[in-house]
Symmetry: D2
Amino acid sequence: MSGNSFGKLFTVTTAGESHGPGLMAIVDGCPPGMPLTTADLQHDLDRRKPGTSRHTTQRQEADEVEILSGVFEGVTTGCPIGLLIRNTDQRSRDYSAIQDLFRPAHADYSYQHKYGVRDYRGGGRSSARETAMRVAAGAIAKKYLATKGIQIRGYMSQLGPITIPFQSWDEVHNNAFFSPNSGKVAELEAYMDQLRRDQDSVGAKITVIADGVMPGLGEPIFDRLDAELAHALMSINAVKGVEIGDGFACVAQRGTEHRDEMTPDGFLSNHAGGVLGGISSGQPIVAHIALKPTSSITVPGRTITASGEATDMITKGRHDPCVGIRATPIAEAMMAMVLMDHFLRQRGQNADVRVSVPVLKQL
Amino acid sequence: MSGNSFGKLFTVTTAGESHGPGLMAIVDGCPPGMPLTTADLQHDLDRRKPGTSRHTTQRQEADEVEILSGVFEGVTTGCPIGLLIRNTDQRSRDYSAIQDLFRPAHADYSYQHKYGVRDYRGGGRSSARETAMRVAAGAIAKKYLATKGIQIRGYMSQLGPITIPFQSWDEVHNNAFFSPNSGKVAELEAYMDQLRRDQDSVGAKITVIADGVMPGLGEPIFDRLDAELAHALMSINAVKGVEIGDGFACVAQRGTEHRDEMTPDGFLSNHAGGVLGGISSGQPIVAHIALKPTSSITVPGRTITASGEATDMITKGRHDPCVGIRATPIAEAMMAMVLMDHFLRQRGQNADVRVSVPVLKQL
Amino acid sequence: MSGNSFGKLFTVTTAGESHGPGLMAIVDGCPPGMPLTTADLQHDLDRRKPGTSRHTTQRQEADEVEILSGVFEGVTTGCPIGLLIRNTDQRSRDYSAIQDLFRPAHADYSYQHKYGVRDYRGGGRSSARETAMRVAAGAIAKKYLATKGIQIRGYMSQLGPITIPFQSWDEVHNNAFFSPNSGKVAELEAYMDQLRRDQDSVGAKITVIADGVMPGLGEPIFDRLDAELAHALMSINAVKGVEIGDGFACVAQRGTEHRDEMTPDGFLSNHAGGVLGGISSGQPIVAHIALKPTSSITVPGRTITASGEATDMITKGRHDPCVGIRATPIAEAMMAMVLMDHFLRQRGQNADVRVSVPVLKQL
Amino acid sequence: MSGNSFGKLFTVTTAGESHGPGLMAIVDGCPPGMPLTTADLQHDLDRRKPGTSRHTTQRQEADEVEILSGVFEGVTTGCPIGLLIRNTDQRSRDYSAIQDLFRPAHADYSYQHKYGVRDYRGGGRSSARETAMRVAAGAIAKKYLATKGIQIRGYMSQLGPITIPFQSWDEVHNNAFFSPNSGKVAELEAYMDQLRRDQDSVGAKITVIADGVMPGLGEPIFDRLDAELAHALMSINAVKGVEIGDGFACVAQRGTEHRDEMTPDGFLSNHAGGVLGGISSGQPIVAHIALKPTSSITVPGRTITASGEATDMITKGRHDPCVGIRATPIAEAMMAMVLMDHFLRQRGQNADVRVSVPVLKQL
């Protein structure tokens, strides 16, 4: 229940730093009877893994996950599932130069103020390395939700200034960007190469969509589904904004434009992004997240030392020029955790409910 | 702990519907020894109250709050504070016509699917009426945080297509829009009058800022301060997007632009919005929320009946053409709840911590 | 989630002191569609109410509960149910003499140390008055559980040195002691009358039994059903011990005696008290609680003043010479809350589970 | 928050079964800056370890714990501490004979009903094996609490019919029983040897005491310190009863006997066991637990098969004839977790409180 646990019935607790011995997660609340192997988790871990293209961090991690409990004869038992990933390629020497500095736009300064001490190697707990465990835990949720007809997929909808219109889900797997549009890939690659030459970084926007979600998920008023999704997605490193449906475009919309009218054949639009009154409506759940540009860049920047003196710094080591490129599987995992938790909560609270109104589909 | 409670140490639990006998809240975890009277709560309730200008809902509610427990001889005891507001002006007859319809873009359809039954009068629990209790509870948090030097204020930064540049905090109280810019008020009034004639509605963007927040608040990785703020703000009715700092503008920013460099005299910018690595940095915490246009408009729209047949509907009754106009105190209250909770959590976890690094201020 | 909330899916939050304006509760997570009126709650409140016999506190409280939300057209909506009981007979003047004393064996001393301030009137929040709200909330749970075939009843099994063997459930309602044995009532009355003449008090033991509980409730390892029952029951004022099944008699039992053997016709005994491995087995759930003698007695006792000086004190006012006499409905209510919460949790987690093993019954 | 997490600020989450690859724990909320090594944990793990005397289970487990995160340069960072113990001596073949039986008085039957599947090897998650992780996590709490002057120690106060009067704490470490009385050891050994020859088992009572606890810990009304201790202690396998202070002896006590009078020199007694009104009073916190006799005995017993047919069974394998012999370190660990959690909660909620009343000591 402290800050490293998420979810009320399907609870994910993680631990582990960038340069410690390993990462751990305990996934509690997965119903029993579901087949589960490490292969189910490895797929999404590999999608997230660094070192898979020239556009991402050059750290080579095997990211091989081990299941230590909660599975017997290949099937979940309902008991907590323990996951372990050993860190193997840490290169601690890269960070010794910065142990007395606060890297601008990193968590160093705020961690120092919160804890008084910090593991400075690679950002310690603040590093995106811990997201490997979220992806593994999210894969468990994804698998279960799939048995209920729910599918969660994401893609990059914008990289820096380049908007990427959706073309097809198949495209997403064909490039290193999670771009749903093949025609944009060359432009993205060129932009990234230039960015690397500039020693700079840029932000990104990721879109995550859940199809097949039954209406009724979400627990108003504080655990509304959209609020929980916002919590989950904003908890991802580097995320600075979350939208549901039309998001900030709603500000300038008129009520007559925004409302999703209903007919016996289904909804006529989905400006709401699948959530009405904090509860899923049966429409696809659509969320967008804004990721800030990576703080670890090699252009020098002004900062202070631990004793408060002015200094310049340059980040060395291995970094992502655009963290957005690896965020898609993490966003999918967080959405999966929320929907899993709320699926169980809705079932627990309201399994007695008899609904005589049909579920509308989207035209 | 079910969906109607928020916060781990400072826990707010609410109940109450639009047309029920009354609204209640239990505020648990306010430290003892703080002077508290209903006047402290009434101020913010009045700011939120309907019927205060021609631009807001014409429902006249006294919204007088009563404190039923947790205060003795004018001072908090540390025991839970019970709050009660009786509903007095409900006009239930306005809603009988719609008990067999699902109003488009309202919660009716999703509530029906979740619960099988719903209090259709005025939206029941899904109505913004319940936010009165959030404002009252948030006022308790605001008062305590003020004793720690923290001030939380909000304003409208955009109404429909009209951007409102910040001029001064004093302006915010001088008009019905919470506009921080006197020069814009006439334009906003004209726009709203036209909107009313059009029988339509529009969205809005609200900006909330917390000054004086010490560094160190937030509990990574899942209860990061920005994630909890996103949760709290997205839980407000009609909110469809949340940004921290530069939010979605970060997508197109370069790392060199985005990073807030540090000097011995302070930070040089605040693109991060006061949160680094999920922990407050000592900079002002800046959040923006996008509110969708009100679903209750009088232009007819297509929908279905409870038995699934096509029908048109018109909303009658008393409504806000722009809910954003009343959202500012609600957003302030939610931010206050989060900061209160995290102030206590940080104190509980880390009161032993000795920090030798100075707290930087913003230039 | 702070200390005044109990339960994860069925969450009860209470507020209110002995001499404040009133008591409140918010009951969150009751499934929708269940008929509910104040009469359902009043029955158990009346069983708990002071002033119903010469053997209990002479304070006369109407204890009339009002439902403020969560019920529409006589049926629960699934939204939080708000309850309110106004305090009407407080006689504050009885307590002014003790505002600078710490009554021995009361909470005064520890509350002062925890909060620095305290509402000394009648014990404030530490008074058993707040249990009225637990009983009201528990009545909601009892009603729902009854629809699932679960019945919860309690009785007094020992008063001071007098053991009360179980005779029949019908007897429990026929006397002021909740004694299940008519033959013992005269002895109990004589004992109590002597106690009153002695100006003293005595403890009691209450037994609570839940019949009809399906196997499978409880969430190992920390939220085992017996652990949650222990928590709930120990949270009742004056409780100093909790047993499940044979409890402390197990210490001297041999394994061959203790084990409840199983045959196709059912269990052969119930030493376990209905819980195996922290999960309900389908057998009656049997718990016993030990209540200490009331601290409020009129025999003088040594204590200290708020400034640390020695003094004698005598409690005046209206008190229970044996709090156990009113504890039965409170214990039933707490057991109901736990079973309700776990019924929903089990349904949420494991509704998919197919069990081919029959449910054994008790011979 | 699901059943395998305990504590609100100091949260312990565990996973792992008797015969799986290993046991894990994530300990979240330990303040930063505390020196911590595996040696700190190993001491208590060794006290709990099987195979240390002829009176306990003959399973030989190294029980070597590894710290995977949360510690940097020998000091806690405030980030979650991950613990891992590999299972090495499992002898799975011992259990294959019982996979289609329900061992009487074991969790088999209830687990099957809850989950539909179970890891039958050695009891799976229901085995006491998982308590190794509680002991490791509790050792972290113990160490921190010691820096605040709090010491937690336990001993066996009764084995079967043999009462063991307290002699000294030093004795506890000198024998295999955690007996605080050297004069009783020979009698205990003889009794145990006979029990083994009888192929039977017996229960035990353990007493745990916390000294040096400041007043003010506990969060009324539901998270009262005694209620949380009851929860924590009842969650230990085989526990069937919990007492605070005089416990069930209170039933027959008179108010004049029970109350702990106060003088300027301190309390005159401690019938309350250190908790008043659910809050620590500054007196030693005294709890007793009743452990039932082990269910795994070699005397045949009647039971049913998974298909409901009558059968006899005999447990083979390695077992404890008296689980109480190893429960002491587990009970200490659970008490430590509760006090740790409440120390942090009290500090978070009430660090502002100024108390002018002296802390009484016990005569």
